[in-house]
């Protein structure tokens, strides 16, 4: 589904990613962990199509297509979803209008007619229940005045509405209390299907108590320095990142 080969990237001339390779197959959940500044968010930004990152080498293929050639909206319509670390507030644009436009752009891309107003509202209601998002949030402007937890829940709600094939959740757990974390994680689990995939980017292990990954990668200094099963996350939780840093430094 997603195939990253030897990806190198820079921001303002400074090399951040130094050769990343990653294969995500349909149905898999991958966790990418790593200390601050290791390049996790840069990787997410490249996958979403932010233009402040320049890819200097390597390829990213998504379902056989060159992802790097696609605009951010095309990526979304093709089935990629990025859960933002810091969701953006858009005053004056209602959640309903925002989601209706997004859903109908996806439908258009698939050659379907736009949803009728009543079908759309019905869909919204279903998905709201699924991810346990407060009904009133949907009537407000996008993320405006939402608490940190509400914003993250709103990301999962949007994910539910758009039903992506590959969801990339960038530090979705940061700033969440334990209840919000559980709601977010439950949402992700409920949306899991046998053929869709998830990449969870996180600093802490605790989210992985709820979302159980198939593979855990450790990103450090722009490289994936270790990939292993879910037990790696527990090891990191116990020992921190220092032992990995030391290992890497010893190799060099």
């Amino acid at each position: 589904m997603l195939s990253i080969k030897n990806l190198k990237a820079a921001i303002n001339g400074k090399t951040i990613l130094k050769g990343i390779s990653l294969e995500v197959r349909p149905g898999e959940i991958h966790a990418i962990m790593g200390p601050n500044g290791s390049g996790k968010s840069t990787l997410a930004a490249i996958l979403a199509g932010r233009d402040f990152v320049s890819v200097t080498e390597g390829t990213v293929m998504f379902s056989g297509r060159n992802l790097l050639d696609m605009s951010p909206e095309e990526r979304s319509r093709e089935g990629i979803f990025l859960g933002f670390q810091y969701p953006i507030e858009i005053p004056g644009v209602s959640m309903v209008n925002f989601m209706k436009t997004a859903v109908n752009e996806h439908r258009k891309h698939r050659g379907q007619d736009p949803l009728s107003a009543s079908d759309f509202l019905k869909l919204m209601r279903e998905k709201k229940e699924l991810v346990e998002i407060d009904s009133a949030l949907a009537n407000r402007s996008v993320n405006e005045g939402f608490s940190g937890g509400e914003k993250k829940k709103n990301e999962i709600f949007q994910m539910a509405m758009l039903e992506p094939r590959l969801a990339i959740l960038d530090e979705t757990d940061s700033g969440l209390d334990i209840d919000a974390l559980r709601i977010v994680a439950n949402g992700v689990n409920k949306l899991k299907k046998p053929d869709n995939s998830t990449i969870v980017i996180t600093h802490y292990q605790r989210l992985l108590d709820y979302i159980v990954p198939d593979v855990v990668h450790v990103l450090y200094d722009g490289r994936i320095v270790r990939s292993s099963g879910k037990e790696l996350a527990l090891e990191l939780e116990e020992k921190g990142y220092d032992w990995i840093k030391k290992e890497v430094e010893n190799q060099e």
Binding site: P72, R75, L82, I88, I90, P91, G92, V142
Partner: protein
């Protein structure tokens, strides 16, 4: 001879050369103001770049031109006015059409509406209700600096008169459609007088349209009296072609415990300058002043707002926004004056602008003059681009860049539009704004001018 006096000379000549036509059809009340006003105009002249309030607006572009001006219209001038129909669906109003600043002669010049309300021609009203007109006419449109107001007082012959007597509540708004139409380049000046007495409630909609591609220049003055406890709303929708210049001066005088709102929506026009002066002339009066313009090409839009807190415990709120595309330019001057005794004043001002290109230009100038000490005052001005992060966020949900920009601009504009309480008009304006933002010409179906 410098440029300013040359152009001033031209308009002085219009007055002196047509003095008999101007005074011949007018009542004593209105004529009694003319010579003094002309004197003031001669001293002040047509405002130029040196006038603070016109610093960013070069009136010469339109005023330095030879226009046809007339003071007594013929019947044929009104045929189009009689035929004009506003095409806003479900907008239920009492309609008035002015043609080149005159009230049509074909039907009655004054109409009686429910509740003792009278609407019609100012000229006719000044004959029929001389004492009422005398009590209010020329009392609120005062300026020590703006020659154009005095030029209007010196020369205006007609316009709209509305009297809403004490305690009368008119449910339906009155809609004034200002049409300018001529095969020749035309200069027109009209004068409106709106009297909303104690405890009365009234909403006025003014729509500005051009019907022919000639060059048009309008210098209009509107005086409004809002009595104690009265409520008044004025909504102005401007939709003129690129070869038209509209200068409007609106003076709203409020008594104690009254409420007034003003909303200027400029959808299209070559050069537009709206000045709105709110005088809070009694305790606990409240006013909201809103404005929105959408401009492109070489259009220029200037909003001047002056809120005078003359009495204690009054509240004012200004919200003005602009979206400027291509080479469009704009200006905002927002002045808040708080008198020494006006304790407990709350005065707020916000001016936000979006520049869609590097060539568009906006000058925003808040001016606060506060002499009282117990005052809550705030102002904020921004000139910027669309929020790139918001655009990206929408794109990342599959919304195309063009659509995302439209959503953002529409949301920006809607913050002003949403304050219009006449549902049918608000919905129509939302639609027109969307069309305008999409680059489709947002003229009403009745407009024949293709000024793209």
């Amino acid at each position: 001879m410098n440029g300013k006096s040359e152009v001033t000379e031209y308009y002085s000549g219009l007055f002196t050369g047509n003095i008999e036509k101007i005074t011949g059809g007018s009542s004593e009340v209105i004529n009694s103001f003319r010579s003094k006003a002309f004197e003031r105009f001669s001293e002040l002249g047509i405002p130029g770049k040196k006038d603070e309030a016109y610093k960013y607006t070069n009136l010469d572009l339109f005023f330095k031109h030879d226009y046809k001006t007339y003071f007594i219209p013929g019947e044929e001038d009104f045929r189009k006015a009689e035929d004009f129909r506003c095409d806003v669906a479900d907008l239920d109003t009492h309609g008035i059409v002015l043609m080149n600043g005159f009230y049509p002669t074909i039907n009655g010049k004054l109409r009686d509406l429910p509740g003792g309300v009278v609407i019609g021609s100012l000229n006719a009203a000044s004959y029929k209700f001389p004492s009422l007109v005398e009590k209010h006419y020329g009392k609120y449109a005062a300026s020590e600096t703006d020659g154009l107001i005095h030029l209007n007082t010196a020369m205006a012959c007609d316009g709209v008169f509305i009297h809403v007597p004490r305690g009368s509540v008119l449910r339906k708004p009155v809609q004034v459609v200002n049409l300018v139409d001529s095969q020749e380049d035309t200069f027109s000046q009209h004068r409106n007088l709106i009297i909303v007495e104690e405890g009365a409630e009234f909403t006025l909609i003014i729509c500005d349209h051009t019907l022919a591609p000639s060059r048009f220049l309008t210098n209009a003055v509107t005086e409004v009296f809002v009595g104690k406890n009265a409520r008044f709303n004025i909504i102005r929708v401007q939709n003129e072609h690129n070869n038209a210049c509209k200068v409007t001066h609106t003076f709203i005088h409020q008594e104690a415990d009254s409420y007034a709102s003003s909303n200027n929506i400029t959808l299209h026009g070559g050069m537009v300058r709206n000045s709105t002066c709110h005088y809070l002339g009694g305790e606990r009066a409240e006013c909201n002043s809103y404005g929105l313009f959408l401009s492109d090409k070489w259009q220029h839009t200037d909003n001047y707002v002056y809120v005078n807190h003359a009495f204690p415990n009054c509240t004012s709120n200004q919200l003005f926004k602009g979206v400027l595309d291509e080479m469009a330019t704009g200006a905002f001057n927002g002045r808040i004056f708080v008198a020494r005794d006006a304790q407990g004043t709350m005065a707020y001002q916000k001016n936000n602008n979006i520049l869609l290109t590097d060539d568009a230009k906006m000058d925003s100038r808040p001016q606060l003059e506060i002499y009282a000490d117990d005052v809550k005052c705030s102002h904020g001005a921004t000139v910027g681009q669309l929020d790139e992060n918001a655009l990206f966020y929408m794109q990342s949900r599959g919304i195309g860049k063009r659509e995302a920009r439209l959503l953002l601009m529409f949301a920006f504009a809607h913050e002003v539009i949403q304050n219009i309480k006449v549902d049918a008009l608000r919905e129509r304006l939302d639609g027109l704004v969307m069309q305008r933002l999409k680059g489709e010409l947002s003229r009403c179906a009745s407009c024949m001018v293709k000024c793209g």
